[in-house]
Amino acid sequence: MKRGNADCVLLMGNEAVARGALEGGVSYCTGYPGNPSSEIVGTLLSVHDKYDFQVEWSVNEMVALEAAAAFAFSGLRAMATMKQNGINVCADFLTTVCMNQLKGGLLLVVCDDPGPLTSSNEEDSRHFAKIAQVPLLEPSTSQEAKDMTKWLLEFSEQMGVPCILRMVSRLSHGRSGVTLDPLPKRQVKPVFDVEKPLVGLPFLVTINHGILLKKMREVQKIFDRSPFNRYEGPRHAPFVLIATGLGALYAREAVDVLGLEDRIGILKIGTPWPLPAGLLQRHLKHADQVLFVEEIDPFLEDHVKVLFAEHRARWGDVRFFGKNTGDICGSHGPGVGEMNTDIVIDALRRIFRTRRHDPIGHPKPKLDEAKNLLIPREISFCQGCPHRASFFAIKTALALDGRNGFVVGDIGCYGLAAGATGYHQIKALHCMGSGMGNACGFSKLSAFGFSQPVVAVAGESTFYHACLPALVNAKFNDCNALFVILDNSVTAMTGFQVNPGSPFTQSGEERSPVLAEDITRGLGIKTAVLDPVEDIQQATEAVYEGLQEGGVKVIVFRRICSTFRTRSLEGNRLTKARVDQEKCLGEACGCNRFCSRVLGCPGIQYDREKGKAYIREDACDGCGLCVQLCPEEAITLFDVEKEVSA
């Protein structure tokens, strides 16, 4: 492709998907934020007033896919986006909606996170294409991400089946050049045909399942000829490298670096499911060695081996190399962590016994000396973060309670409370909403002598997404559970998306939020609502009392995310904290350098020479938490503007 022309723009993989959706005539895009997928809906939200389509954040991925499907039922094209955990949430609907003949295109975009950069699991979503028996494509570049999105919206409509696009974090957040196509005009008026009901009654399922599998055999033939699959290399190469997604780029670079272009054929598969069996047979019947390069699980590797077993008579002997054989292996073992060029180079060097491309790095002693100086840069709650106060209140209350209690939670900024910034309070962290469900079970352990109190925590976005059934379960089954909702008004970890609890829209207009306490009180659950930073003493007492009472109790700690408030609403606050250098006693205080060491706020530093704490004004939010907690009352708030004018 010609680069450097005016129509070629640099796009992030997720932006390219958003563009592809518009080019593919999408009428509705839904999704739940989760890295690395969040920018797809984010990008579409930023342009939704310019084009004629609907876009929104959904309460969770299940609702996102169900809502999108209604458009496909009525003849319009729709797309739902999510991270890999999200496809688990919507799997029940995915595996039933695939049985229906759709009128409009329905595309599920899922972004996996190999070598997790921002996830609590390492999961390969491609298996869901096989479980649901729906077509799945995997792009290698932003250009392909755009082209495949556009093509899949059309193809899904043509075949009447939902389709999946599988991205990975390095592609979703990577950028490369994309040549844009024009945007279409919508021509269809949506109608739901009541004469053709879409019902999954048992006696219809076997019929529909048969129709689906027949469609997939057709899809397989189409994929055999798809331009998204490409072969590069010598004709009838005895060594074929099968690669998909970013794996195709890592494979290409490794082969080029080692100078093995004349000996290896690279078969790049853009359509991993259904497996393009005819194409694979054409290239593999001449091969006697095959290497697989793909992200996370040996998905193609396993299925090509099944194909080989079926055609063994014609293929003859083939030796397979990949994750199952341990040849494709990163530093954490085969099938674990992210793919890269070096992993492919190492595999090829072993297989071809070539010594080319010997590392030209630094000698080990020099490198070891350098590594000795390295210290980690841990992430922490931001200055003014309400979670710092909330977990301090929980920590103090659990200590006062004295029964070895602990916190169970889930993912989100508050998940950082499993680390130093949240005083290591969270002791079990899995998927969205898991803390509340776990708490129900811990409560029932009392029948067997279990006496530790349990605090379940979740953010407000997670509360609406995944906690409501567990909360109703706790009430229904008479659990003793304290549930703390950490309501900071936005889904902060993934980039400050709005959720049902936000009192504003994504573009900043006021709206009326769904308040957590309206729901919990409606269930007859005793609920307290507090700002944990405003009065840390009161917040601590509320948690302590919650631990002493029986039954289900809810505390809502509500205060807006300080970083979102600063960036998007008010700018920097003019109130800052300062340490009175006379009153601060330093090491002599006995507070164990509480403000700089225990509280761990980015704004508070300790001057070792002077033996006093001080506050970096540029990193102070002026929240006043340290003011309340300093035992010598050495920290006070002041108004920056007044001081300047005085």
Partner: protein, 215 residues
Amino acid sequence: MGRGKAVTNVIITGVGGQGNVLAASLLASAALAEGCEVTVGDVYGLTQRGGSVASHVRWTKGNPLPPLVPRHGLDILLAFEPLEALRVLTQFGRKDTRGIVNVTPIVPIGVQTGRFEYPEPSKLDGVLQALTGTLRLVDATAVARRLGNIQVLNMVMLGALIASGFINLREEVFEDIIVSKVARKHLSINQSAFREGMDMMSRNPHHDLTGPEGP
């Protein structure tokens, strides 16, 4: 890519909030405008909460490249923070890597809380020097402060990169990219920062502590 097709590998590193991602995107746009095939590998997500950030910017006249620089593949390092420079060099550096490193540290939270020690500046500089072929230490933070906005540090560093002669992209292309990509209300200060960065590097092109080529 193919044999003989040169690849340029740049890593821009710093701490979340220093404007890394925008700098990488501008650099990549300039390479794209010069007719190259460009790939940027960004890592972020949790990183906006004060963590390490590294953007891999790669370009070539050949086929598309993957978004990660291979080991020992680093041609040019542009580091907004010295500890992060060290982190990248230990992973991707080789003997002839050329680096521009901003010397002002951003202290990690673990140092603040007393669990870790930030390396002594002289020791850190020495190790950075040992791990590079050519090293330019600059105080871009001071330049950005003087301009009245620490947020333009990324533009100062980009200006320094262009003036260093380490990369083969033209200044005019860069200036056009800045005009087209930076919001109008911030344009003027960003342009000044870019030019100040260029001046900082051209005034003192040999302000490197490496002396003769390293061992």
